[in-house]
């Protein structure tokens, strides 16, 4: 039994090594057929029968167990809890609950310890969806099947309000020390600008760095900056200056999952009925949602 543990450890190392280089090729082998036939995938496909079956049964799998487990992190205004409440609310949380209802299943939220582990959590079925203001980067698209973009976002530089006027351009950022969430879209932007930074566990920790003076600046999501910094928030002395890019949010599902189509159809219907914007207005993200859906 102990030997199995060793075998397991070695096998895991191998699997990680394999997925690291073979992830995209495996994905492209599975995915194009449904996209090319542009309609139903009903016609018999004798080469990858088992793969298709596994992929086709994701909705059935979720309805069978009666729960949709949504992996997320505490991230206002998308997913957060009011003080003294145990219920997750926010634009993403509320929409996820509605999506669960449309499938006839209960939605459970699982707060991920490590955002980097999201695709591992999906692949092992520890969670069924990643739905938490996730930026659609090339990395994300290679690791999971993603929905249509449903919300716009960008990466912004956060600094102390009293020095903000000195750092209004991308060129002026070189002299600052940065804190940014490890592996986030913000980190990618700094890499592109050739600026070094301290990698933090999450965006909130990066903000804490700036607030405590440990770093001069942080790069976080615009939507989060809107909710978390400035007057009347936890960080009244911080503000944001340079906008580094434009990006889109999407929901991630297991590779080849039929939940992607189900989500896209459902979302477009909900948007047409005006329900999406109704929820978006509650959390102040309606402009970003409109931008993604109409712009």
């Amino acid at each position: 039994m102990k030997k199995k543990l060793l075998a397991l450890a070695l096998a895991l190392t191998m699997v990680l090594a394999l997925t690291a280089c073979g992830g995209s090729s495996g994905g492209s082998a599975d995915n194009p057929p449904p996209a090319d036939t542009s309609g139903n995938t009903e016609e018999p496909d004798d080469t990858s029968g088992s793969d298709q079956e596994a992929a086709g049964s994701d909705i059935a799998y979720i309805q069978g167990k009666g729960t949709l487990i949504v992996g997320m992190t505490d991230y206002a205004p998308m997913d957060y809890k009011e003080d003294g409440s145990d219920e997750w609310i926010g634009f993403d949380a509320d929409m996820a609950k509605a999506f669960g209802e449309s499938l006839g299943v209960e939605v459970q939220f699982l707060e991920l310890a490590d955002w980097d582990a999201k695709s591992m959590e999906l692949d092992t079925k520890a969670i069924d969806a990643v739905w938490n203001g996730m930026t659609l980067t090339d990395d994300v698209k290679a690791l999971m099947s993603t929905s249509i973009p449903y919300c716009l976002n960008s990466q912004v530089v956060v600094v102390n309000a009293d020095v903000a006027d000195q750092y209004q351009t991308a060129e002026s950022l070189g002299e600052l020390s940065f804190a940014v969430e490890n592996g986030s879209a913000g980190a990618e932007q700094l890499d592109a600008l050739n600026i070094s930074y301290t990698a933090m566990q999450n965006q909130a920790a990066a903000l804490m760095e700036v607030a405590s003076g440990a770093s001069d600046a942080a790069v976080i999501d615009l939507l989060m900056a809107g909710a978390m910094i400035g007057e009347g928030t936890s960080y009244p002395d911080l503000t944001y200056t340079v906008q580094l890019n434009d990006e889109e949010y999407g929901v991630g599902f297991r590779k080849g999952s039929d939940l992607v189509d189900a989500f896209n159809t459902w979302w477009n219907d909900m948007y047409a009925e005006g329900k999406v914007l109704e929820v978006a207005e509650t959390y102040g993200v309606q402009e970003a949602v409109k931008g993604a859906m109409e712009g």
Binding site: L5, L6, L8, A9, A76, Y80, D83, A113, E121, A204
Partner: protein
């Protein structure tokens, strides 16, 4: 703010305590079994057990937690263990390996002459082990066991890598609300817990003061 924070930290403390006591419950007996394996006269078994102890003690507990939780799903596509169970399995196996070496040290520190004396008195091997050796082993291993237990109290914080919401996790959630002190405040809970342990272990040592 102080009282709601304390209450939510206590909630995390319940998970921490559950993990602590359940780990002891499984690791203490398992450690004894492993120590027999590592002292076995059957060479392949001894070699196997010693290799396992080397792997478990020699690799980071955090990696072991990740492997036990994600491993079955990633490699074999099996359903996963519940998060807390996976954490408990990792802890029980890991601490059993450490405990086994403490047991081995304790057992081997009992002089050979005492086994011989037992044999002269016509006692069986089992009788010698339980009536002579184990009594003295228990007394001798209390200090190093206490060491491991106090380490265990703090190691429980590792399980947050697989989203088991223990004490430090609860402290960290306040960072998102702009509060850093609840995270530092969790140290007080660990201090109290290890303080209680220290007192209990001291009393235990006094109670075991029956033979010098």
């Amino acid at each position: 703010m102080f009282i709601p924070v304390t209450l939510s930290l206590l909630e995390g403390m319940v998970t921490t305590l559950k993990l602590f006591f359940l780990t002891l419950l499984f690791a203490l007996p398992l450690g004894l079994v492993i120590s027999f394996g590592s002292m076995s006269r059957f060479t392949p078994l001894r070699w196997l057990v010693q290799t396992v102890v080397w792997i478990i003690r020699g690799s980071p507990l955090m990696i072991q937690i990740l492997i036990i939780f994600y491993g079955p799903g990633l490699i074999f596509g099996l359903p996963l263990l519940p998060r807390f169970t996976a954490a408990l399995v990792a802890f029980a196996v890991n601490y059993a390996c450490y405990f086994s070496e403490i047991y081995r040290g304790g057992i081997q520190s009992v002089p050979q002459g005492q086994y011989e004396a037992g044999q002269v008195l016509g006692m069986t091997k089992t009788q010698i082990f339980f009536k002579i050796t184990l009594l003295q082993v228990v007394k001798r291993i209390v200090p190093p066991m206490g060491n491991e237990m106090i380490t265990l109290v703090k190691d429980t914080s590792l399980v947050r890598v697989i989203s088991v919401y223990e004490l430090i996790w609860m402290g960290e959630t306040y960072i998102k609300k702009g509060l850093i002190w609840p995270l530092f405040y969790t140290a007080v809970f660990y201090l109290i817990l290890s303080g209680i342990l220290t007192i209990l272990l001291n009393q235990c040592e006094k109670k075991l003061d029956y033979f010098k």
